[in-house]
């Protein structure tokens, strides 16, 4: 009988990352599929896959902060922006190579996370939300107005990444970098969740005063959550900068912050698989919307400058739908399906 996480018989089983052989096999198949994707997909498909990868990394970062530690942050896009612009400025203006610019971008974003995290120690709930919102708008403002550094609207053009002598100037080649980093981030997050730090995070989320009583150092873990989350966000932002080749201030606005929160909620908060699935879903959603709104725009030409509004509305509807009917997100739906079919036909 397959052992799943629903019925574990000892602590060793509880600690396993893959709950069953079936999970291991399907994950291996998925990985193989992702490896060969560029060979049979077109360039646009590979581009979308790259964007998915970047969003997965970003969503995993936000999941650490909001899903595991319960610190609701509406400023995630701001941290990604810091990472992106750091990488862009270092690469374009200072000539830093890819392998140096990327971690430095993450580091600078992590410092920003520290700056946000320290004041956030005292704040709870909605006050924290609005404070992170304030940081988001301030970061947007600085990006837009520090023209000597960021060139504001004109944006910064990022040279293609170079790694070990290979010039990664095509989507296909950069795809593998993103794939490796996304897998690494997912593995990191999963391990983090199962480690002592991860348990401390969850304790902070569930009952922080009780956690402090049993000895969890709130300040240390909250700040750690902010810094780790921002580091990953900075990485994602930097990858995005290299991917797009040109970044501007409106890649990292409040709208994107809301999008990332939607990703982790729609996917399933507090789960690695949920963040991944949510990120892919929310990246593919606009593609579907575009496919639908294209014919609508040509049928009703008066609507064409306003067709972007349809995307905004669909985002809203998707968020509302998931929260009203399935607060655990796509991951919750998957778990419910598994629970129904595992003991079938004896499920009731």
């Amino acid at each position: 009988m397959a052992v799943t996480r629903f019925c574990v018989r000892d602590y060793r089983q509880d600690l396993r990352i893959f709950p069953s052989p079936a999970a291991k096999i399907s994950l291996a198949l998925l990985f193989l599929f992702l490896l060969v994707l560029p060979y049979f997909g077109g360039t646009y498909l590979v581009f979308v896959a790259c964007v998915c990868g970047v969003s997965v990394i970003g969503a995993l970062g936000l999941n650490i902060l909001t899903g595991y530690t319960g610190q609701i942050s509406l400023g995630h896009a701001g941290f990604m922006g810091i990472g992106a612009y750091t990488a862009a400025v270092l690469a374009a203006k200072a000539g830093f190579p890819f392998w140096a610019a990327l971690p430095l971008a993450g580091a600078l974003a992590a410092i920003a996370g520290l700056v946000v995290g320290v004041p956030a120690l005292r704040l709870k709930g909605l006050y924290l939300v609005v404070t992170t919102l304030a940081f988001q708008f301030i970061i947007e403002h600085v990006i837009y107005h520090w023209e000597s550094l960021t060139q504001s609207d004109k944006g910064i053009s990022v040279p293609p990444a170079e790694l070990f002598g290979w010039k990664l100037d095509s989507y296909e080649s950069f795809y593998y970098v993103i794939l490796v980093l996304a897998v690494a981030t997912a593995v990191f997050t999963k391990n983090l969740a199962m480690s002592r730090t991860g348990r401390a995070f969850v304790a902070v989320r569930d009952r922080d005063i009780a956690a402090e009583i049993i000895g969890v150092n709130l300040a240390k873990y909250k700040i750690m959550a902010f810094m780790v989350s921002s580091f990953i966000a900075g990485l994602a932002g930097a990858l995005y900068a290299y991917l797009l080749g040109l970044i501007g201030p409106d890649h990292f606005t409040f709208h994107q912050s809301v999008l990332y929160i939607a990703m982790i909620i729609v996917g399933g908060m507090g789960t690695v698989l949920g963040s991944i699935v949510g990120a892919v879903f929310m990246v593919l959603l606009p593609e579907v919307i575009n496919a639908i709104s294209g014919p609508i725009a040509s049928a009703y030409p008066v609507l064409s400058p306003r067709i972007g509004a349809v995307a905004v509305m669909v985002y809203g509807f998707v968020i509302i739908f998931f929260l009203l009917f399935e607060p655990d997100g796509l991951f919750g739906i998957w778990i419910k399906l598994k629970r129904y079919w595992k003991p079938w036909p004896f499920s009731y």
Binding site: F137, I213, A262, A309, V312, G316, L324
Partner: protein, 296 residues
């Protein structure tokens, strides 16, 4: 000359502050009564202003009649939204509630963009356009009317909440929902009424704002600056929301004029959020907010 500019800025600031105070009042009302944070409040303001615009320009109704019909429409819309989208979320965790209202905000913003387009529109202001002299400064009449109207509105609300049965039942529900239930107050109706009042107040604010600025689809972001007003005042304090709104409005306008030569343009938009950060350092629960006491 310097004093005149200062006075103009203060009055404009008070006008903006009145708009923020109205939106903030709506936020705080919904939060106190239902424990739900309505991120869609600025979008409700925007929707109300655009609906009023439609009533008055496209349907050629006289201003007062169009305004009144808009208020009724917004009340109905708010009640429907509350009953369908928000009521099921009562009691869920904060992040879920915030996200639902953010989703709602997206839907309303998209609907407005879809229906009315993205260009700026000139709102048919009922107030005469020529400025009048107030203590030596030329002031836009729409702004003065905004301040006056908001003051009257808030006085009416004060009387309503203190002396009328409906107002008292809203306050009771805000204080302790369970006891309100036990005392026979129709709590579901109170929830709906709080949303209706919030939408009506937001519409009034939106119409006034459109009168002295433009009707544009980013009004939602403008209205989002009422959030700093609530933070400043404290999330569960009605007088705090009003005072916070006025302070933010005046501070924004003053900072916009006096600080922009030194710190670059766009100071007006960002001042509110800088104030949030400063206030959160000093008083994490706002000026008048009640400190939450958690028991384990």
């Amino acid at each position: 000359m310097g004093f005149q500019i200062f006075l103009q800025l203060v009055i404009t600031g008070l006008a903006w502050g009145s708009v923020y105070a109205c939106i903030a009042l709506g936020f705080v009302l919904i939060f106190k009564a239902t424990d739900i944070f309505n991120f869609a409040q600025p979008e409700l303001m925007m929707l109300g202003a655009y609906l009023a615009f439609t009533m008055i320009t496209m349907m050629k109704l006289p201003f007062v009649l169009g305004f009144f019909i808009t208020l009724v429409l917004m009340a109905i819309i708010a009640a429907l939204l509350e009953m369908s989208v928000v009521r099921p979320m009562v009691g869920e965790m904060h992040l879920a509630v915030i996200m639902v209202t953010l989703g709602l905000a997206n839907v309303i913003r998209g609907a407005v963009g879809l229906a009315w387009g993205y260009e700026e529109l000139q709102f048919p202001s009922p107030f005469p356009q020529d400025p009048i002299l107030f203590l030596g400064a030329a002031v836009n009449q729409a702004e003065l009317y905004t301040i006056l109207a908001t003051a009257i509105l808030l006085t009416i609300f004060f009387i309503f909440f203190k002396y009328s049965a409906a107002g008292i039942s809203i306050r009771a529900t805000a204080e302790d929902t369970t006891t309100a239930f036990l005392m026979g107050i129709n709590v579901k109706r109170v929830f709906t009424v709080s949303w209706v009042i919030a939408a009506v107040v937001a519409t009034i604010a939106g119409v006034f704002l459109a009168s002295f600025t433009f009707l544009e689809p980013i009004m939602g972001f403008t209205g989002l600056r009422a959030l700093p007003a609530i933070i400043l005042g404290g999330m569960d304090s009605v007088p705090g929301a009003i005072i916070g709104g006025l302070i933010i409005g005046v501070a924004e306008n003053l900072a916009g004029f006096y600080l922009e030569p030194y710190l670059g343009s766009g100071m007006k938009e960002i001042t509110a959020y800088i104030i949030v950060l400063i206030v959160m350092m000093i008083r994490p629960y706002g000026l008048f907010g009640t400190k939450e006491i958690e028991r384990v």
